[in-house]
């Protein structure tokens, strides 16, 4: 041993060890990028090596980042496969998965983003990406895009793209709509009326509470934005239209303490005081609240269109999903829906913007909109798609009919998603209100203070 310690082998061993550590920790950007997406990356390498010829031909490498959540990835696979067929000179690299936003974060931070991004899921924020200047301005390009029938894409959206000071940075792909779900089979069997306004909603909950001995309404307290987006946004839309909705989302001075907002919050207080809101909601995460709903512990739950897909494995056989816009509107007024759009965008620093634009244009067709509904059970943000003869689920066909009937349902648009800096404090106060710890008046005051702080942070 002593001999070994004295020999030059020791020095050699030490050098190897140190070099090994240094090499292992050195920053090889290419390597890092590859590692992050090792599980999900799939490369169609038929035409590897081909480069953009620069003459308008679509070629080269195209990187697409998309989140895989409740809607699965089968639709994406179909669309990307078809695009590859149409543009064989393009080498497509997919970055996909349920944690893809986190996995790709270092690529965005190091100014090496993918070309196309579908903005959805935890860890993504369209507003933040626009604020950080990460998305390409598509305003002018969008003007020239036409669908197969010659109509302009710009005029064919169910809901217009998010507007950032008159500019468009993303195209709304998925028409996600929050609303209130109920068990259609049970309602039919028990003869419960499906509510169409706040008054009938309250009387329906009263009847269910008396008959079933349950708290009729549940939501997740760990993610209070489910109630904010699923119930309050439509209520604000119904009470004050797009303007009020925009004002509360942007935290305009006086918006949260305005009369229509206070009226809406009093409705929520009324629900709480009547004991209609499950008093355990504060402890529930979204899955638990949805499980309770499916088990019949509650009759109504506000969630988006993804609920049936997300809970497919846990849905009892005799359960039938029924969907209505959250009935917070006054009697005689149409019900209200505020879509929560999941957009497709092109990175400002995209290395292959031509292919990226070709892909985005390729995706927005009525054919793919129909196939989207069949694959995901949700609606793509394109008008004039007839789902009646499709394989789309029943609740979706019903909802699609409702959405396209302005006498029954009014669609209100928010200018863009609410910033997390405003949504978080408001959501916290909302939980307090729904637990009965503060009044509607105290809530609007707290929300107004949060809005003032948010505005101050923007300056």
């Amino acid at each position: 041993m002593k001999k070994f310690l004295q020999s030059p082998y020791l020095l050699l061993l030490a050098m190897i060890l140190i070099l090994g550590v240094i090499a292992g920790c050195s920053s090889d950007t290419e390597g890092e990028g590859d590692d992050q997406t090792e599980d999900t990356e799939q490369e169609d390498t038929q035409n590897e090596g081909s480069e953009d010829t620069g003459n308008g031909e679509i070629s080269g490498e195209l990187e697409i980042q998309y989140f895989v959540g409740g809607y699965g990835d089968s639709w994406w696979k179909e669309v990307i496969g078809d695009f590859q067929e149409k543009y064989p000179d393009v080498t497509i690299t997919e970055h996909a998965g349920p944690n893809i936003n986190e996995e790709m974060r270092s690529r965005w931070v190091s100014n090496d983003p993918p070309d196309v991004v579908y903005i959805d899921g935890a860890g993504s924020s369209e507003t933040q990406m626009v604020e950080d200047g990460q998305l390409m301005d598509l305003t002018e390009w969008l003007e020239g895009i036409e669908l197969a029938d010659g109509s302009k894409l710009k005029d064919s959206f169910i809901v217009d793209p998010a507007d950032y000071d008159g500019k468009t940075y993303s195209l709304p792909l998925v028409f996600d709509t929050w609303g209130t779900w109920y068990d259609k089979a049970k309602f039919e069997a028990e003869g419960y009326e499906v509510p169409s306004d706040f008054e009938s909603f309250m009387s329906s909950m009263e009847e269910i509470q008396a008959n079933e001995d349950i708290a009729p309404f549940v939501t997740t307290g760990q993610y209070p934005y489910y109630f904010l987006r699923g119930v309050l946004y439509p209520a604000f839309g119904a009470a004050g239209g797009d303007q009020l909705l925009a004002d509360v989302i942007q935290g305009k001075e006086g918006a949260w303490t305005s009369e229509p907002v206070l009226e809406v919050m009093k409705k929520v207080e009324e629900m709480q005081k009547a004991g209609f809101i499950d008093e355990g909601f504060g402890a529930l995460n979204h899955t638990q609240s949805q499980m309770n709903f499916l088990l019949g512990d509650n009759a109504y739950i506000p969630v988006g269109f993804w609920l049936p897909n997300e809970m497919a494995n846990d849905t009892p056989e005799d359960f039938e999903y029924g969907f209505i816009p959250s009935p917070m509107n006054d009697a005689g007024e149409p019900m209200a829906i505020v879509p929560d759009l999941r957009p497709l965008a092109i990175a400002e620093q995209a290395e292959n913007p031509e292919a990226a634009k070709a892909f985005v244009e390729f995706v927005f067709t009525r054919e793919y909109a129909k196939s989207f509904s069949e694959h995901t059970g949700a609606i793509m943000n394109i008008t004039g798609v007839d789902l009646a003869d499709s394989n789309a689920p029943g609740y979706l066909i019903d909802a699609n009919k409702l959405i396209n009937d302005p006498e029954q349902v009014q669609i209100y648009q928010k200018p863009h998603p609410m910033s997390a800096d405003l949504e978080t404090p408001i959501s916290n106060s909302l939980v307090s209100l729904m637990l009965g710890n503060i009044t509607a008046e105290e809530f609007v005051q707290e929300a107004e203070e949060a809005a003032a702080e948010y505005r101050a942070g923007l300056e």
Binding site: L5, A14, I22, Q134, G221, G282, A283
Partner: protein, 297 residues
């Protein structure tokens, strides 16, 4: 054969350099980059960041939520130290002094939560606390105390105290083993002599066991304090996400929310720096109060 000076230094370098490199990469670099980012306004998801000097620190001192997160952290520290130490000492003494036949079995049982992931523990206790189906509320109803049943994790008053039980449950085993080791090293002759002198078991515990296992108790308390200040955010994140209405946010979970959910990474880094300072001060104060001469008989 005597080693030359060069060979001696070479051997020292062989032992120390790799360790130092790893320490520098995994401890010093994140520490200093955290400090660096605390002076920037940065979303954490883009390359652009603006130098803002001390404004993140000024914002933190005016933050209404942050002081309550410190209080929540210290509530968990105090309750965990008391709960874990009392139960760990009790079980350690019981398993070593009371000559229980099944002692090895109990040792395994008590240590079991320590080999479980905190995430699993959190999920398990979420079910135990479930307002409708949970063991706690069902148990209370079974013994006729249904008026005590409540949505534990969904109640602004009870959510934080409810986190103490899983944290204590998960922590007992390790410290119990540490103390068993300490107690086993106390010579039996001390207890025999004390018994001959007529000392009761209670007196033996206070006059012999406690002074002689003090080093283990001290290490245990310090360890609980440090791991609670640095790690309690995991159980918060899993069980309550800091809610309802910030009632369970600890400094770590608030940092996570700011940095990764609200995209205020620079501000999150500032909170991280303050957590480091608070932890250091706490440990220094603790060491000052717990200094005590080593006892030998």
């Amino acid at each position: 054969m005597v080693q030359t000076k060069k060979q001696k230094y070479l051997f020292l370098a062989f032992c120390l350099v790799p360790t130092f490199i790893l320490f520098a990469i995994f401890t010093l670099y994140p520490l200093f980059s955290g400090l660096y980012y605390s002076f920037f306004e940065w979303s954490g998801s883009a390359a652009d960041k603006d130098f803002v000097g001390f404004s993140n620190y000024i914002k933190l001192f005016n933050d209404e939520i942050f002081p309550s997160t410190i209080l929540h952290d210290y509530f968990l520290v105090v309750t965990k130290v008391i709960g874990i130490m009392i139960l760990a000492i009790f079980f350690a003494v019981a398993l070593t002094q009371l000559r229980i036949k099944e002692a090895p079995f109990y040792r395994v049982i008590f240590f079991f939560p320590n080999i479980m992931s905190v995430v699993v523990i959190g999920i398990l206790w979420m079910f135990i606390y479930n307002p409708g189906l949970g063991l706690v509320n069902s148990g209370l109803e079974m013994i006729g105390l249904e008026e005590w049943a409540r949505p534990w994790l969904g109640d602004e008053e009870w959510a934080l105290p409810s986190l103490v039980l899983p944290s204590v449950w998960a922590g007992i085993g390790l410290f119990m083993l540490l103390l068993i080791g300490g107690i086993s090293n106390v010579p039996k002759s001390y207890y025999e002599a004390a018994e001959i002198d007529g000392a009761s078991e209670w007196q033996q515990f206070w006059k012999i066991t406690m002074p002689l296992v003090w080093p283990q108790i001290k290490v245990s308390i310090l360890y609980i304090v440090i791991t609670t200040l640095n790690g309690s955010f995991i159980i918060v994140q899993v069980m309550t996400q800091g809610g309802p209405n910030n009632a369970t946010h600890v400094m770590g979970s608030y940092l996570y929310q700011q940095a990764f959910k609200q995209f205020n990474f620079g501000y999150g880094a500032t909170i991280g720096v303050v957590i480091l300072i608070i932890s250091l001060i706490t440990v220094l104060i603790l060491q000052f109060f717990m200094r005590r001469e080593k006892v030998e008989y």
